[in-house]
């Protein structure tokens, strides 16, 4: 799963029937520098993520990509390749200091 920040939603009226009841989030993935800075930036390339948890804009989420993103629809099949697995309450992030840093 990658971490991301919810930036918005996508609304579809005409869609694949398998996606009925699914929300779509615009999510900006968080790169390590942004995670360390805790400044609300993401820094990654935004993508659309299928969702049933309804996070608010600005909240941090973790999303799974690939075949597993369609698992929640099992045994039905859904054309989904990114899915919001959880909403982050709190996180700790303490990567080792790089040698170039003081």
């Amino acid at each position: 799963m990658r971490l991301g920040i919810v930036r918005g939603t996508v609304v579809l009226s005409v869609k694949d029937p398998a996606l009925e009841g699914t929300r779509f989030l615009v999510v900006e993935p968080i790169v390590s520098a942004a995670l360390a800075a805790r400044d609300g930036r993401g820094g990654g390339k935004a993508l659309v993520v299928a969702d049933h948890l309804a996070p608010a804009v600005g909240q941090m989420v973790a999303f799974v990509e690939g075949r597993e993103a369609a698992n929640p629809y099992w045994p039905a099949r859904a054309p989904v390749d990114a899915y919001c697995s959880l909403i982050v309450d709190t996180f700790g992030y303490e990567p080792p200091k790089k040698e170039s840093e003081p």
């Binding site: 990658r2 390590s32 973790a62 597993e68 959880l86 309450d89 996180f91 303490e94």
Partner: protein, 96 residues
């Protein structure tokens, strides 16, 4: 499978039901020389890794489904074990 370093943790109340009480850690994939590869990711941790641990991670979704006993789980990155040592042939990029 790949090697990663545990750099943090995540807590979550609102999540897919399959994730239950699983420990959620932030892992950083590392290359054989210890340098970072890509961006941090959230891992399920059934083995109890600690901050700074070097771990072996699988991206196998089948294992996630077995571990969580749920065919619907939207997860696949799982800590398989804590690495003691990596032995590597000389000249293939200094293990750390």
């Amino acid at each position: 499978m790949f090697l990663a370093r545990i750099d943090g943790w995540v807590t979550s109340t609102v999540k897919h039901a399959s994730l239950g009480e699983q420990r959620l850690l932030i892992g950083q994939r590392v290359a054989s020389d210890g340098s970072d590869v890509g961006e941090p990711m959230v891992l399920l941790d059934p083995v109890g890794a600690r901050l700074g641990s070097r771990v072996l991670v699988t991206s196998d979704g089948d294992l996630a489904r077995q571990l969580l006993k749920d065919n619907r789980t939207p997860s696949r990155m799982i800590v398989l074990g804590i690495v003691d040592e990596v032995h590597q042939a000389a000249g293939s990029g200094g293990a750390r």
